[in-house]
């Protein structure tokens, strides 16, 4: 493909203002094909806003987004998804009362023909099982309501759902938040397996720097609505990142005192 030298995603000067509140000031970011990026930042730095813009939930106030070399305007989740941008939200967007395969195929159900929209469960069940096995997720049964599963299993199901939908850019919002060490490791394994395959680019929003260094090619630090730091994981360290954030905090505290 001619466009292959282009990064998969390039965003330029993205800003987002909510009334009086500027969530994003000026964000520039490039994600290459098959790359895994970490997006770090404190609460309120604008991570979730950026994420919502990329998955079509919010529209930016200013700025341009290029996906696959073409400028795009993401005005709905469905449209972003059709392009191949899919998002695993912190709340996972899973329905506790529905079973695994109904959750995985929600809004892209396989149906028998006809106006009634009768669900064709057999292929959904089969594909859900295959897809989970493919990325190494072990769950007892795809017929169990998701509400009965552990946090790690739900996260894995949410990731599998996005991967199955042929996402080319996957946005993971705090994928290991509220999770034990074992479950977190399972999710990181899933991400590493996807990274090894290289079909999908991933942006991971995280608080936990350690996890980011385990699975990411590059880390970006978002502070006060701007990317203030962006480097390959091999060229930086957890210590360096921590220092930047802590210094920032000290400076702000000093200014507040003065």
């Amino acid at each position: 493909m001619a466009t292959n030298n282009e990064p998969l995603l390039r965003i330029e000067n993205i800003a987002k203002v909510f009334g009086q509140n500027t969530a994003l000031e000026d964000v520039n970011l490039e994600i290459g094909r098959g790359e895994v990026h970490g997006l770090l930042g404190d609460n309120g730095a604008g991570k979730s806003t950026l994420m919502k813009i990329l998955c079509g939930l919010h529209q930016p106030t200013r700025g341009r987004i290029f996906f696959d070399g073409k400028e795009v305007h993401l005005h709905s989740v469905t449209q972003a998804r059709a392009l191949g941008i899919d998002c695993v939200h912190q709340d996972l967007a899973l329905i506790p009362q529905l079973n695994v395969y109904h959750n995985m195929f929600l809004q892209r159900e396989s149906l028998h023909g006809g106006p009634l929209g009768i669900l064709n469960n057999r292929p959904m069940r089969k594909k859900a099982r295959e897809c989970l096995a493919d990325i190494g997720v072990n769950i007892p049964s795809v017929d169990v309501p998701v509400g009965r599963m552990s946090g790690g299993q739900r996260q894995a199901i949410a990731v599998a759902r996005s991967v199955y939908s042929n996402a080319r850019l996957l946005l993971l919002d705090e994928p290991t938040a509220a999770m034990g060490a074992k479950e977190g490791a399972m999710i990181l394994d899933v991400i590493n397996r996807l990274r090894a395959k290289g079909d999908v680019s991933i942006i991971i929003i995280a608080h936990n720097y350690g996890h980011v260094f385990d699975v990411c090619d590059r880390v970006n630090l978002l502070q006060n609505g701007r990317i203030t730091f962006s480097r390959a994981t091999s060229e930086t360290s957890i210590q360096e990142l921590t220092d930047i954030v802590v210094n920032e905090y000290r400076n702000v505290a000093k200014e507040a005192q003065a």
Binding site: H89, L94, L116, V144
Partner: protein, 339 residues
Amino acid sequence: MHSPAEKSGPRAGDPARRQHVWRRAATSILARREASIVIAGILLVIYFQSTTGVFLSQGNISTLGQYASATAILAAGQVLVLVSGELDLSVGMVYAMAPFLMFLAHGAGLPTVVAIILALLGCAVVGLLNGLITELLRIHSFVTTMGMLFLLNGFTLTISGGYPVQPHTGDLVAAIFGGNALAQFGWAIAIALAFQFVLVRTRWGLHTIAVGGNLTGATEAGVKVKFVKIRNFTVCSMLAGFAGILDSFHIGSITPLAGGTQIMFMCIASAVIGGTLLAGGVGTIIGAFFGALVIGILKDGFTLAGVSAYTFDMILGAAILITMIVNVHIGRFKLFGGQ
């Protein structure tokens, strides 16, 4: 109420068998939601038959059908709305309005079937308004439909002048649409089965559960949540109107004070004791059908036994409280925490 299969599930040996047991356990939970109300119904029938001796007579069964059918049809629509996380208080007034719309259309010279269709379209408009106001103007459905309740009550009293009228009866159309008690009961069963199928086997039902189970999640997954809810409001109103039309043919009179809040609370009670949660995401239309039937059995049985209407209300109230407590605590335990 754990079945042995569910208890032994996690301990079962090979994975394939374990999977099978899990699936059976999952489906049997849904089945049990309806099972408890069915068992209650059977026990009540046995009790009333043994105490009154005439409960299972043909005459009484037809009376029972009359008690239960309209409520069951209203409850089917109400469950759809409840599962999608909303509530419709206006159904009883739609029930009273629909026969008048039909009567007016028929009076204008239209054939009965066309008049019925026009009346149902009128009800659809009401449901559409309920849905649009709730979803687009973001008014809580409790308030929207409470407003609609008063509005429609006044509207029905105005177009009727406050006087009852006689529906056109006696022909085949009238008999099919409720003139015959069994036909009315048949409609109730057919509607319950059809909408239970819609709820558990179609995309519409899946999205209804999704919207009520996790609204944010369903939105993020791309489900058209507003459309899903508006559609459920619309269908709920149409079913309420249809029940009103059936009853008007059956009773042979159209009164502006029919139904109202009484039948509205009865249909919500049927849904609740049948296993539907007001919180949304969980519900069964077959369960609501049996809920309506059990309420009918109670009412009918107590009437036969000569028990006062006051006692009936006390027992119904207690039944609602008990089933609700059981549903919330045991039901939630089964669905989320059950091992």
